[in-house]
Each structure stands twice: as structure tokens, then as C-alpha cells.
Symmetry: C3
Subunit: 308 residues, 3 copies
């Protein structure tokens, strides 16, 4: 009974701001139940979820796909390059089509920030939207799986010290994470190239030189250098980035013993962190990917339960 | 009992000419049953249908895929760009492979008109072929879903006045529709640029200036301007096309009150019809897409029931 | 009981050398059982197998996919061109991701010979690997389906005379086949352009001029001219290849009456063999494709049964 009142139901999942703390914790706990083998009891015999990735992805895309299959959902894969998008069809009309075909929910990754606004305001589109990443905007399912991984490790967020290091400006997940973690009581510290840091992040935490940050934090959240979003004018080589802003082996030895290393992946090995650390004892990078499947099951359940 | 004797069984679905009136009406009625929740009782426990789209598609492709899943069929997706087609393998040998793998039926869209002739004559290929569009030839499943949508609206075809407007020469569905609708008793009127109209259409109906046609018809069947099939020598801009041959808002106000607007989509908004009309009260464009799933279920059932 | 002791269990399938004769024969017999309708009784309720084809494929790829569906496995399709591989993610990190997502086994085709070494040595990767072709290395599932097709025809391998003709140097399957067939007691004869023949093949059989080989052998194993692996410096045209090294109609008339023609396909018709022979009475090319599904079911079962 307690369980059924705890059940989270969402119309869409677009940003982390739209989630209450109770919803965040509810999703984390439900994801943990799925990890321990819980099974969804759907109301309808067949649900359709379509995955529309207009930007390339391995982890997020395949993680949603595995989550859908584990829930017994029919996944529809959409490949823009062989679709009518090549004839000039807009995102809106593509989504309208999916809605007309009877698809219940869409996982969408798209390069345009806030691409979803037009979709959720439409009276003709009936699909629930799960944001799989919007431009340099947000990536809420990644943020939630990060939180699940931290919660699994430490059992709470209060007073946890989290370092967010690297290309913060271009990172969707950094922006989602700093908001959520701050709200849940964690203390945020930033580091990395100053050209990728903005004044507006100050409301969530403070910038520290990397060597000051490392021994202080419980979580080293390394961000990917997103070469594909840069214009090539960066003033450092890969090796220089690693030495100045990366988690080198010698820096890692100054971490707290119980501290963990996270990264949304794909990792640029020997850039953001040393190759040998990726699968090392303090890394939770593989755990993040595994937890992603269970978190996405929780999200999909919450979305599909929220449908009439 | 009546129902089982009505059941349609087809070897292939290639053109609308090959269908009897009884088969057309049987498919429409079966599609309506599926829309009301009817369930297929297959003879075998597992059927395989492969979707081979050599031309880009969202609606037709995903509509067949959803239909297959609703029937419990195993869909096999074929992507020419990652297949042995890139090593020079022909359509025939690709289809021969699918047949050897045990695939029951193939939905094929291909740029070559009548691509299916060699396939159905082969003694080694055992797949049923469902034509998802052949060059500038036919598109029978789209035609059948259009008829279903009209029948759903008016309950019959006799004496219905249908306007077919636009790029008739390049439209597969226009050619399928004019034949079927004429046979079933409808009166056809054509309009649009004269350079996209051919004398041979006269056996099915007559050309009228657009402003004469609009107040006369029960169905405004707008055709897509297929930029991808043109050579760029058209003598009008998009705005000019809309003013001269498009359904503008002011023209739409001269339609009969009970008349409906149809379009095979993707719509070029503000070209073939005004943006605001696409999801308007008289539009059945979303209904066409929804009905497409049920019509394709009826087609797939008829094809798979027709297999030994 | 006898059956369960015969059951083959494999950790990976990488090369044919790693298979014992008993395993080869066990897989052939199990594939024949699947062909007669045997059903797998899996230990777990859900298995995930991902198909990672970094090189183009129709037969191998779709054959594995159909086999997976027939066994009730959840297939995950991986398309490198829309994945994080485009952001520079390595094969190792892609596979690590699949492992973290809970995928049980991977079917991989990759252009790098022995690509699998790093994967199977990893302590973090838990997937079983099924080699779907490595560069100019091996193609064990094709080899096993070839053996199944020969065994189905002749009931044994001992003293069978097998001709392997054509582009042996670039053929993964030729290398796998010559090893296995020799071990199982067959006599191997080679023919084709000398520039595609290497001294090291002599341990398996001997080179003969084609017109000497044809009347001698029980199996004409024609190899595909792999235009995509050549540098265009070959000294013959397609027509010249056919006349000198191909199975022309007139050569085919000199074959033993009970001899069969095999080819891994796609066939370059009128190059390796005359167009009319591909689907002729002595050809087993379609049977090879059909048998491929059953052999891959046997392989997948052996791999998944081998997992803890």
C-alpha cells in the first residue's frame, strides 16, 4: 500500500526543475526496486515507445531500448536519415505522425534547446515526451541515473561534497545535476578551464583550482570534452588538458579513500581521466551505465502510468 | 460465419487494379474491425515480415511497423545503406536472401516502377510482396487507407465528389486513388498546375479551375509537391503555388460544410494548404495516419492468411 | 538424457580452431534439430543479444537476427553511424557499454583482424562474443553453416573432395573452411588466380588448374570476388575472370552428377558462376542461407547456455 501511494506518475520528463524532491527520490527508489528484480504490472497489454535520436548516441539510446524491452514495451526505432525528415518534414510533423500512429511516448534527443515546447503545447499531439537531451540544455534521465549512483553509494545527499570538473558550459548533464544536487542538500564545487565556466553557476557552488578540489570531495564528476560542440579554438592539446584539468593518476591518489569517480561517457581516455582509472576501484562509470537501464525503467513506468 | 467467408486473402499487394471491389470493401471493413479492437488469430505461432525501404519514409514505414507489432508479427528492419546492397547486391538477390531466411512477406518501397515483376515471377523467391510504393507507379496501401477514411466519413462512395489537386503526374497515390474511386462510383475532379496534369487522367474525371472545384466537392484531396522528384524547373515559388493551386484559408471557407480535407503527408505547410488548416476541423490528415495502421493490419492479415 | 550430455556450451565463438570436432558435430546436429522444429528451453526468461556490424552485411546480419527472434531472444541493433563511435568512441568502450547495459552476447563484424582479443581479456566486459567476421580473418558461423550444408548432402566428411575456388587470400570463410574440413577428413583442392593463392594453404590441400579440379570434386565452393577489399590492380575484367576462373555453364557440365555448388554470397552473377547456375539444380546457395538461420540458433543456444 505504501508502495502504491509512492508511485510516481509523470506527464512528460523535460527538465529536472519540473521534478519535486519527492518525485526524484521516488524515481531513485523505484529504479533500485527494478535493479533488485521488481516487475512492472502495466494497465494496458501493449505500449509503444519510439526512440527519436536526432543526435548520435550509444549509451542513452541503447539504455532506453533495453529498459523498454525489460518492461515489455514495443520499441519503435526512428532513423532521421531514412525518414521524411530528408524531404524537409519538421520535428513537429514527425512527432504528430508518431502520435497519430498510436505511439504512447517518445524519447527524443535533438540539437535544439527546448525543442519540446511546441510539442507539449499542441492539441493534436498526444504523446508523452521524455527528453533524451536538448542541445546544450538538459539531459534529465542522465542526471537521475547519476543521482541514483550517488545515492546507492552514500545513502543520502545531504552535505555530500560534489566536484563537477570540465566543460560545464556545454554539458547538459552538469546543468541538470548542479540544480538537483544543490536542492537535495549537496555542496557543489566546480573546476576546469575558466573559458568553460560561467558566472551563473555561482548560485549552485564555487570554483576551485583542481588540486584544491580533489582532496575535498566525495564525488569527482568529470565531464566529457565535447569536441563536437567546440569550434576548435581551444588553447590546449589533449595532453595539456589532461595535465591541467584532468584526473591524472597522481591526482587520483589525493582523493578521499571513499570518494568515487563519475563520468557520463563516452570518456576521452587520458584526457578527462587517466585510462587506468576508468575501470579502476574508485570508478563508478560502469555502474552509471548499468543503473541507467533501471532508472529509465522507472521513468518509462512513471510516464506510462501517467497516461489515461 | 459471415465474417469468415468475408475474409480477404491475398498472395501479393502490388497494384489497386488487381483488387476486386469486394476485396477493397473487405479490407476496409476488416480495418474498421481492427480499429474497434478486433484481434488476429494467426494460424502459425510466428510470422516474419521484413520492411525494405529503399526510399525514405516516416509514415508508411512506421505505420507498417506498428501494424506488424499489433498483430504480433516479428518485424525485420532492412537498411540498404548498411547491407550488401553497398557491395552491388541486386534487389532480386536481397529478396532471395530474405526468402531463404524464412521471411513470409516483404514490404518494399523502391524507386523503380514495377520493381516487383521479377520478384513475383521467380520460382526461388517464396515471399509475398506488399508494395509500399514503386517509383512514380502505385502506393496501394496509402490508397486503401484513403478510401477507409472517406468511407468512415460518408458511409459510401457512390456519387461522392472527389477533388484531386496538385502534382498528379508524380503522385503514386493519386493514380491508385482515381482508379479505385471511379470504380466504386465516385466522381473525380482534377485541378492544379497543367504541367503536372496529363490527358490520360481524363478517363477518370475532368480538370476544373481550382476556384470552381472547391465549392463542388465532398473531399479535397491535396497532393504533396514532391520537390525530390522534380528537376527544379517549375515556374512558381512556394508562395505562388499556394496562391494559385493551394488551399488557402479564404478558399477553404468556400468548401461545403461537410467536406473534408485529405493529404498523404508530409504536408508542405503553406504550400499545398494553409498551415492552420492542417490540424483544423475539416482536416482528416491525422485520421488518415491513424487509419493507416488499421488498414495495414488488414493487408498484412490478408497476405499472411493467404500463405500456405 | 543422451541429448543433454550432447549439448554444446561455448563461452565465445571466435575461430574454428578453438572448436573440437565434437563441438563442430554437436552444433551441426543441433542445427538440424532446429531445422526439424526443435525448441530452445532457456534458463532465464529474457536474454539480450546485440548485433554490432561495423561492416555491411545482409545475410549474416539478418540471419543472426532471425535466429535470435526464433529463439525468443531480445535483439538490440547497433548502428555505428548513429552511435557515439562518431564521437570517437572505441570498439572496446562500445562493448563495455553493452556489457554494462546487461547484454548477454554480442555478434560483432569488424574490419580489424582479431578485434576480439582485447574484449575477451577485459575483466569488466562480461559479454560473450560471437565473431561475425574479423577483417580478412575468420567467419566461423559461415564456416559451420557450410559444413552443415555439406553434411546434410553427403552424411559425412570423410574422403569428400572439396574444391575451393577464387579469392582465397581475402576470404575469411575459405580459411575457416579449409581447416575444419581437413580436420574432419575431407580432401581439399584449390583453384583460382595465383595472385590470390598463398603457399601457406598447401598444408590443407593442393592447387589444381580449374578444368582439372571441376570433374574431380564433390563440392564446388566458389568464393566471392571481394571488390571492396581490392585495390583495383587486378589484371582481369569480370568477363575474363568468369572465363578463366569462374564456373561457366560448360564447365558445370563436367561436374560429377551428385556434386553441389556452394557460394557464401552475395554472388557476382556471371563472374564467379554463371547466372543460370545460381538457382540451378546443383546449387546449394539458397540452402546455405536457410541453414544459416538454424546453425546460428545452435550457436546462440550454445553461447547462452554457457553463461552462468
Amino acid at each position: 500500500m505504501a508502495l502504491s501511494t509512492d508511485k510516481i506518475s509523470l506527464k512528460h520528463l523535460l527538465t529536472v526543475e519540473a521534478l519535486t524532491d519527492q518525485e526524484v527520490m521516488g524515481l531513485i527508489k523505484r529504479a533500485q526496486q527494478f535493479k533488485r528484480g521488481a516487475v512492472w504490472q502495466p494497465k494496458k497489454s501493449q505500449y509503444f515507445v519510439a526512440n527519436l535520436f536526432f543526435e548520435n548516441s550509444t549509451r542513452t539510446h541503447k539504455s532506453f531500448e533495453v529498459a523498454e524491452r525489460k518492461l515489455g514495451i514495443d520499441s519503435i526505432e526512428f532513423d532521421a536519415s531514412t525518414s521524411s525528415v530528408t524531404k524537409g518534414e519538421s520535428l513537429y510533423d514527425t512527432v504528430l505522425t508518431m502520435s497519430a500512429l498510436g505511439v504512447d511516448a517518445l524519447v527524443i534527443r535533438h540539437s535544439e534547446e527546448n525543442y519540446y515546447n511546441q510539442l507539449i503545447q499542441s492539441k493534436t499531439v498526444h504523446c508523452s515526451i521524455i527528453n533524451g537531451g536538448d542541445g546544450s540544455g538538459q539531459h534529465p534521465s542522465q542526471s537521475l541515473l547519476d543521482l541514483m549512483t550517488i545515492y546507492e553509494e552514500f545513502g543520502q545527499f545531504n552535505r555530500l561534497k560534489i566536484g563537477i570538473i570540465g566543460d560545464i558550459t556545454h554539458s547538459r548533464v552538469a546543468k541538470s545535476n548542479m540544480q538537483l544536487l544543490k536542492r537535495l542538500g549537496a555542496e557543489i564545487y566546480f573546476s576546469g578551464p575558466l573559458e568553460w565556466y560561467e558566472q551563473k553557476f555561482e548560485v549552485y557552488g564555487h570554483y576551485l583550482p583542481l588540486d584544491e578540489l580533489v582532496p575535498k570531495v566525495d564525488v569527482m564528476m568529470m565531464l566529457r570534452v565535447q569536441h563536437e560542440r567546440h569550434d576548435g579554438k581551444e588553447s590546449f592539446s589533449k595532453a595539456e588538458y589532461h595535465q591541467e584539468y584532468g584526473l591524472t593518476v597522481s591526482r587520483s591518489q589525493k582523493m578521499k579513500h571513499a570518494a568515487i569517480i563519475m563520468h557520463p561517457a563516452p570518456v576521452n581516455r587520458d584526457v578527462e581521466l587517466a585510462d587506468s582509472l576508468v575501470e579502476g576501484l574508485q570508478s563508478r562509470i560502469v555502474a552509471q551505465m548499468s543503473n541507467g537501464v533501471y532508472m529509465r525503467m522507472a521513468i518509462l513506468e512513471a510516464i506510462l502510468e501517467g497516461r489515461v
